[in-house]
Symmetry: C2
Subunit: 434 residues, 2 copies
């Protein structure tokens, strides 16, 4: 989905050439590999930051496309032939009404509920993964998904003309299933939770020649989340915030925002400063929050039981990295109950006009808890990450919001209903004493 008027691109020197193991620094070719054969540690893309530094400036980025591809030298693609579906550069909203409600003075909302094309931050990671998949010669792409990733993989594969087979847990929200099927991929609904889906996909990835965006393409895929760090820094006027609050599922998003900030410091685009990283989980699937609270150096897997299905990963791959990051930056990892999650969704909608899904409700609920516990300073520049759209998880709020007043198409019918509504509202605010 190239923008109509693309800026002319000149081929530039690649900024990466290999993968390295996260712990031992063992090198691998930049192919569809994701785990070190010797240490079993995950593999990461190794960049040449001198090359990046020579290619980027604030001005060159600002003159780039209005999408994640303005940060292309920081992303693991070798050619200029990327899949640009307009992903990224979502609004960073200076909150007025939510901030006042919470008592914060400098609250910003990074709104990926309106990310393109499928309304979640997953469009970022999938745009990167499928661009790389095409470079590596894959013709069929796949993923293990809690819903948003399946939407995004199916949509962007359709756009790019790649064959697509996605795997989801069979109990997903209707909107997420339909929002995948519409693009006409093969959809495998697996009887089991996400962790079981993920294990099955690892097996399939070993025997089929497919590009699984979050398995054998994971080193490339996960880099896409750095753009949530890059954009916030740029949108704050090339400054880092004081505190961020983001949801934690696998822990990848949370740790890659940090990596994005660090890379901007490394190449001189922003000044170094401390940033506190706080994380949000649903209480019904909070292995990372539990490890953080207990001060443990390991994650105890859990069986998910929450309405926040999109972040319900019981055995999170990057869980310990997330705990360490919260500890070293002075942040907190907190959880919210399902009821609090619904209240979080409603609070954001009523105050800011942003309708988020359960993951966003979790993040807002945790933001509120952190403020109440004095863990966010009212003056801090705080950025809260909203990662998905509420139209996909309508079940979560059904029955928990108001109802329409049904009336006849006549003025007197309206007037009676309006009077009733006003009375109810007054009663809401000033309960009659009995």
């Amino acid at each position: 989905m190239t923008q109509a008027i693309a800026t002319e691109k000149t081929p530039t020197k690649p900024t990466f050439s290999k993968l390295v193991s996260k712990d031992g620094g063992i090198e691998y070719e930049a192919k569809a590999l994701y785990v070190c054969e010797e240490t079993f540690s995950p593999l990461e893309v190794a960049y040449d930051y001198d090359v990046i530094r020579a290619q980027v400036s604030r001005e060159s980025i600002e003159a780039g496309p209005n999408s994640i591809w303005r940060y292309r030298p920081f992303l693991p693609v070798a050619t200029d032939n990327v899949i640009d579906v307009g992903t990224g550069m979502t609004p960073l909203v200076k909150s007025q009404r939510l901030a006042r409600r919470l008592g914060l003075k400098n609250l910003y909302i990074k709104n990926d509920a309106v990310n393109m094309p499928t309304l979640s931050f997953k469009d970022r990671v999938v745009s990167v993964a499928l661009s790389r998949a095409r470079e590596l010669g894959f013709t069929t792409v796949s993923c293990a998904s809690t819903g948003n990733l399946a939407n995004s993989t199916a949509a962007i594969a359709a756009h790019a003309g790649l064959d697509c087979c996605v795997f989801i847990p069979s109990d997903l929200e209707a909107g997420k299933v339909l929002g995948t099927l519409i693009y006409n991929p093969t959809v495998m609904a697996v009887k089991g939770n996400y962790d079981q889906v993920n294990r099955l996909c690892s097996e399939v990835a070993n025997s089929y020649g497919w590009g699984f965006v979050n398995i054998n393409l994971r080193p490339y895929y996960s880099e896409g989340s750095k753009t949530l760090g890059f954009e916030v820094a740029e949108q704050l006027g090339w400054k880092l915030p004081d505190h961020i609050v983001a949801p934690i599922a696998s822990g990848s998003l949370y740790t890659k925002i940090y990596k994005g900030f660090q890379e901007f410091i490394k190449v001189g685009l922003v000044e170094d400063k401390p940033v506190r990283f706080s994380g949000a989980q649903a209480e019904g699937c909070s292995p990372v929050a539990q490890a953080f609270k207990a001060g443990r150096d390991f994650i105890t897997p859990v069986k998910p039981n929450t309405i926040a299905k999109s972040i319900a990963i019981g055995n999170p791959a990057d869980g310990m990295y997330a705990v360490e990051q919260a500890q070293k930056t002075g942040g907190t990892i907190e959880s919210a109950t399902d009821a609090e999650i619904v209240e979080g969704i409603k609070l954001l909608a009523e105050t800011e006009g942003i309708f988020t899904e359960t993951a966003g409700g979790t993040t807002i609920a945790v933001l509120k808890k952190l403020v109440e516990a004095g863990k966010i300073d009212p003056d801090e520049t705080t950025v809260v990450y909203i990662t998905g759209n509420g139209l996909k998880t309508q079940e979560a709020v059904q029955g928990c919001i108001g109802e329409p007043l049904t009336i006849d198409a006549k003025l007197d019918s309206f007037e009676r209903a309006w009077e009733r509504a006003q009375t109810l509202e007054r009663l809401d605010w000033q309960p009659v004493l009995v």
Copy 2:
């Protein structure tokens, strides 16, 4: 929802000061008025194009915010204190796979399915109407809606802290009702169709001091649709297309895109050239298409009966203006059946990764018909307008798309399902002869 880093704005000379009747040029104060007391013709905003010409250039627009407000001198607001929720500047997609499927060489898709904040073009008109409502001193805003407008009015009112009461037909799609209620406005579900809702609202507008965005604020509101013309011209590199295809409900969107092009010509931002305007209606509510086909100079109202509820206006206010515009520009107004609308939704999703609602399905279905009838030249630069998101009208495609294959979390269960899927697909393409 101000963008984090707003460009500093200097107050500029207002570009409008009054309303005039569309037929007789009778002048009115620029207040909440919408119909000429003498001729009953609609009122329009009267601009001083010399003032606009002095304020705008391609460069000044390109340096403006990444939203409809980059065109602020062309919009009817008096101050710089506008409500900017990031609306507009949605992608203009150069189509590859849909274009190939249809046999077109220069097809572009203007994608308002990802407009901010509520995923339809209505965010444009509501951003303008509520900005003006605030200037005129309204504290309660309202609308008569087929769904998208209610979503948008409720969300942007919530953001701006305005009280809100919206009116919808009681049989709307669940996603549109929930996508309004979440922002906590008062919702009146009227037993009747949109035309009845609209009549009731006219009565309410007369006796309550509310700003109805599409009734007493309609002269301001409708101007927001011009931005769909402005953006296409700018995104095509400051050129007009040869042919546009847009949905027709009231006819306002369709005629305002034309007005947008004309204004850009008038102030010298683009060169004058012929643009053909074709329009799309659902067969179950096609009073404008019927008038066009019969060559009538009046609209015969109809009772809507179609799945395309968002464009189901049986007595369209600007219907005759739309017919005249199609006639004078050499375009066509065509309709599509409900089955063709569903196929249109699927076609766009499968080829471009864009999930639109029924209105968009109508437009794609009509685009296909026009190509097949030889009414669009393969070489013409054609822009098709997609105005809303498919997640809001999930009912329309349920049962018409594929289903997930349910499997156990085991490799052999997957393998059996995958083999079955491949066989089915082969059968699909190469039916066995019996």
